[in-house]
Point group: D2
Chain length 287, copies 4
């Protein structure tokens, strides 16, 4: 069990007549991710509503804000009760045995055109024995051939662009890995959290995009950009790709500052601080 | 209430060592679409499993078939208890009031790149008063500028292609209409059924793709290709776009014949046959 | 006859071991564009070579520069002997009568996918009577539906993107107009010069991209972004699209400052200063 | 010296009111490709005009045909005086020394988006020593990773599609090789001829697309699809990519049969028949 304390501060400047926001900044509540306590503060006096989407467990905060500054502060203490498993024991499922609820994650999506990458995927990974190791090979391949380079991609950049251009940020690494998994009929989804453990040289603590792949009987975590420590990932949102899980979707004319984020391991119920670290086991925070 | 009888025959030729299929050919069971009776027959002696995806109510039939011919027959009798409403009374919802379960339908998807069509959508429909009428205007605009032309599109054709090239089939009309709705933050989804009432000159009865748009408190039916009679639509699958709801997803080397489909209105409990017809009301088979 | 004086200053910072440049900053020498005098100065002591490409008359300056600062100054005095013609007298040529040397300008190119815009072009302009007026209508249509917005496009932006997204800079307006002309089998090319007469609110004098269309027996000038005064355009380069006529193509690791450009009308041989102005005639600086 | 006899028969059915054609089916006349004799016959009594484009030496036949059948027969006897050179002696040219007339062949074009393939090209070929061998390595790489598969590509398929999808026909192999060469600043162009020596299992003798690359002081021939014998290539047209050099560009409503083509080596002036064969030397038919 790892206990993390999370502080998130967002700062906007809204032009008249005001702006609508859909935030996905609440830690998901799952069987293995317990939100012990949380608080939300806004500088504007607004009714807020947090709703949980049943299929994904994403928690959406809707805000209709007035013109002027909007400051959003979220604080949470979260326990991660990871499922650990030795990679060698984890199989892929044949399509015939995939649960209906994961089927949509083998289909292509806005940024993950898996239908067009079947040749690449078969060529590179078709001969490998099935299982966690094949997915790890996909993750390593994406990491090795792609250079993490800020400002090389934009809101239109897709897995095909990243495959060709060999550059991107965490979002792009994730899209490419997802597209390759789906091209092999392995369900894969796009998940957002905080880049726990990232090298400070990459900049201040930030949101992070990583991948979950359905193997055996659950979703396992992979970090294709290799910039952070998966054991420290608190899940906010999950979806088909970045189109589904922006931390903020904004309607209106709104300026924004960079988010200010802090995350740290704190003492658990037994008084011990357990620090997330890289490990050889497969890990999951899924049920 | 309309009662329809449906017969669906699929015919495949499977190369060794066999093939896996995910079919979505079972009529959905919803509050307004009652499946009175149904039967499924396969020429191969196979265990079959039909599973309902909870978020969409899509019913997936998984089949692992042997090499050789595979014949699949589905028969169903379905009652449609339409919700009818005068178009003038149906509003769009502001983003702040959309249910969380429909949010994913305002985001872009594989074939509906709504993020890139915001300028077109605002230019053409931004000044119109909000509501059912605006969505109807989008539907009419798509229908008017696009020519129904078989064999002009393929599995890679997206809403942007159809916008530019002005040709396509029902799938393409649906993608373009969906992308334009989402570009205006109106939830829209891709739904499959049978082209009830289509002109026989277009060929034998076939599968059909149409659009559902979330307005007021439910999903309303639109038929942007204008080739069929919406009141006769029995819903099979619904999803983000065609990537999600193929009637058959096939893994293996498999040849196929054209599906043979029959659908007709039959007498209801009161002995009366009610024939689907074009009508001015908005219609929905959603809960 | 209009006499213009042109001053162009480019400023680079070249990392070791040095950089190669292909510049296209020399005014073209044509029958109607006379370069009376010109000078080129570099701060590095380098052999330079200016070569004229026979098909386009583009003049290419090749420079192999050492690491360190590179400053390039070009000065020229140019006489423009415009061909003026009343638009109503200028016809399109049928394909059968196009000179072989202009044929390549009816084919699609990197940024002008005219092959995909035939439906749009026929729909919008197919019914218009042929001639200069139809081309002017294309230019007006592009100008009216596209908003000049810096930083909305990049090196990958093509005519299709601009058609869909309705924003861009002069390069993008030009690509869209060219693609539409070619879709109607009207030869069109991409030409670079200086944005003579541009509103200073748009920033300092800069390079400019505009369009030449082959009508009757010569190339006529069109300015689809409408930001400058065509009568003041000194032609540098012309080609299929922006891929062919960058003012500087750079090989190596090189930083650059914004070019500093001045252009002004000066007294001709008769002592009179003639100022370029908007005019209703068709104009050409082609032979 | 190799002497080839060529017979080409095209067969069209033209709807009223008639059709315009631009054919590029005349063998180019170059210093190393001598057209000893040729004849053109049409079943319609039409004025024909053959014009040579000076930059490419492509010979364009323009035909304005009446409605009804159009049959075009072209016969030629052509001497190929190949330039042969040992590959090890042939260098790439630095950009600074490329002739102006070949510069446009380092820029991207409609189907060869070399600007987007710089990372791939540098990664795969950046470390190799420059020269003919590097270009041969590009050719081998394209051949090895791409499967020749009829009907997998269409008029919209580009080098990026072929890179991703690993399938195509000779046109697609050529586009991918060209794009990779240009990404390394090596001039490359698209050339059309007849698939001399192709395996009859691939179908009857057909048009062929191959690549010419500028190395040393001339254009050398490469055949990335590996389906034919380069020493037997009679050049018709050359250009930036397939957009420039269709053997027939057709305006109007026209049906067509497959071309009927025959090509064979015949006795030269000395009475000897020399049969084209695969050889290890670099070959060129350029000046």
């Amino acid at each position: 069990m790892i206990r993390l304390e999370l502080a998130l501060d967002l700062d906007y400047d809204i032009a008249p007549p005001g702006g609508d926001f859909i935030f996905n900044i609440h830690a998901a509540r799952t069987q293995r991710q317990h939100v012990l306590s949380e608080s939300l503060n806004l500088n504007q006096n607004l009714a807020t509503q947090v709703e949980t989407e049943p299929a994904t467990l994403n928690r959406y905060l809707r805000v209709q804000a007035f013109a002027g500054p909007l400051k959003v502060s979220y604080r949470a203490t979260v326990d991660l009760l990871h499922h650990f498993a030795p990679p060698g024991n984890i199989d892929e499922l044949p399509v015939a045995r995939l649960p209906a609820s994961v089927l949509s994650y083998i289909y292509p999506s806005r940024y993950c055109q898996s239908d067009r990458l079947q040749q690449v995927a078969m060529r590179e990974f078709g001969q490998r024995s099935h299982g966690y190791g094949r997915v790890q090979a996909i993750r390593d391949w994406v990491l090795q051939r792609t250079t993490f380079t800020p400002n090389t991609s934009n809101a239109n950049t897709s897995a095909i662009d990243t495959l060709i251009e060999h550059v991107g940020v965490c979002r792009d690494f994730a899209h490419l890995m997802i597209a390759l998994c789906r091209a092999l009929n392995i369900p894969a989804r796009f998940t957002t959290g905080i880049d726990y453990g990232a090298d400070p040289a990459l900049g201040p603590t930030d949101f992070h995009a990583y991948v979950e792949v359905y193997l055996g009987d659950r979703w396992y975590i992979f970090d294709p950009s290799g910039t952070a420590i998966p054991m420290g990932f608190v899940r906010f949102g999950t979806g088909r790709d970045a189109a589904d899980v922006a931390f903020a979707t904004i309607f209106g004319t709104v300026g924004s500052a960079a988010p200010v984020i802090n995350i740290r391991a704190v003492a658990g119920a037994d008084g011990q601080v357990r620090i997330p670290h890289h490990c050889a086991d497969a890990i999951s925070t899924d049920g």
